[in-house]
Amino acid sequence: MYFDYAVVLTLTLIGIVLLAGLMGLQKLLAPSNPFARKLMPYECGEPPTGNAWINFNVRFYLIALVFVIFEVEVAFIYPVAAVYLDWVRRGQRWFALSEILIFLLILFVGLIYVWVKRDLEWVKKVPD
C-alpha cells in the first residue's frame, strides 16, 4: 500500500525542490535594490493606509459553519462512494443508491432551513 503513496511523496519532493530551487536561483541571479517605497504594497497607485489585517464581515463565519457541516457530509459519503461500484456489481445498486440519497436528503433539509431563514444572505445593518 505504501507504493501508491510513493507517487504522492515524489510529487511533494519535486514540488519542494522546484520551488526552493527556482526561488534560490532568483535570489542569486536577480539584482537586489530594495528601498522603502519599492517595498510598499501595490494598491492601484494609492498609498495604502492602516493595517492589512482588517476585520472580515461576520457573514463569512456563518457561511464557513455551513460549509464545515457539508464537508463532514462529504467525508461520510466518500467511503460509500469508494465501494459503490462493488455493490452495483453485486446487484444491489438501488439499495446503495437509496441509502446515499436518504443521507443526502436529511442534510438537504438543513440547507433548505438556512436558505429559507436567510442565513446565506448578506447580513445587513437594517434590522428585519
Binding site: 500500500m1 505504501y2 503513496y5 511523496l9 493595517n51 489585517w53 476585520n55 472580515f56 464581515n57 461576520v58 457573514r59 463569512f60 463565519y61 456563518l62 464557513a64 459553519l65 455551513v66 460549509f67 464545515v68 457541516i69 464537508e71 463532514v72 457530509e73 462529504v74 467525508a75 461520510f76 466518500y78 467511503p79 460509500v80 462512494a81 469508494a82 465501494v83 459503490y84 462493488d86 455493490w87 439499495f95 446503495a96 441509502e99 436518504i102 443521507f103 443526502l104 436529511i106 442534510l107 433539509v109 438543513g110 432551513y113 438556512v114 431563514k117 442565513d119 447580513v123 445587513k124 445593518k125 434590522p127
Partner: protein, 167 residues
C-alpha cells in the same frame, strides 16, 4: 528506511508547527502554523496505514476546522495589535501543567504493550469502512446525517444572533 526518514521529517514538521502555534506572539501566525501541524499528523496517519484518517485529516481539519479558526481570528477586533499584559504570570503555571501532562502521557506510553499488527493492518481501510456503512452500520450511518443536521441548525441558531447584532 525511507519510512523512518519520512516519519522523522513529519514529526519535526508537526512539532515545530505546534511550537509556533503555542509560542507565537501573533495569533494570526498561530492560526496559520496549525496548518503544518495538521498536515504533519495527516502524514503520520498515512505512514501508519490509516488512509481514511489521512483523507479525513486533510479534508476536515485542514479544509474545515482550520478555515473556521482562521475566520474566527480574522473576525476578531484588533487581532494584530492585541496586547497580552500578564505574559510572565501565565508562563510558570503553564510550564508546570505541561510537565505534569507530559509525565502522565509518558507513563501511559511506557505502560502500553504496543502489539505489532503485522503487515495485514497496512491494507487500505476506506473500502472496509464503506462496506461497513452499507452493511452492519447502516443505521448509525443514517443517524450521523441527523446528527449533522442538528449540529448545522444549532450552530446557525447560536451564531445568527451574534452575526446580526455585530453587522
Amino acid at each position: 528506511m525511507i519510512a523512518v526518514i519520512v516519519f522523522w521529517t513529519l514529526a519535526v514538521i508537526t512539532v515545530l508547527s505546534a511550537m509556533i502555534t503555542a509560542f507565537s506572539r501573533n495569533i494570526v501566525y498561530s492560526a496559520f502554523a496549525l496548518l503544518g501541524s495538521f498536515a504533519g499528523v495527516a502524514g503520520i496517519y498515512l505512514l501508519l496505514g490509516a488512509d481514511f484518517l489521512f483523507i479525513i485529516q486533510i479534508f476536515i481539519y485542514i479544509g474545515g476546522i482550520l478555515v473556521v479558526t482562521i475566520f474566527a481570528v480574522m473576525l476578531t477586533q484588533g487581532v494584530a495589535d492585541m496586547n497580552i499584559s500578564n505574559r510572565i504570570v501565565g508562563l510558570i503555571p503553564a510550564a508546570l501543567i505541561a510537565l505534569l501532562a507530559g509525565a502522565v502521557m509518558l507513563e501511559a506510553i511506557l505502560r502500553t504493550p504496543w502489539p505489532h499488527p503485522g503487515t495485514a493492518a497496512l491494507n487500505p481501510t476506506t473500502h472496509a469502512i464503506g462496506n461497513a456503512f452499507l452493511g452492519p452500520f447502516l443505521l448509525p450511518f443514517e443517524i450521523a446525517s441527523v446528527v449533522l443536521l442538528a449540529a448545522l441548525i444549532g450552530a446557525i441558531v447560536i451564531s445568527r444572533q451574534a452575526a446580526r447584532a455585530e453587522a
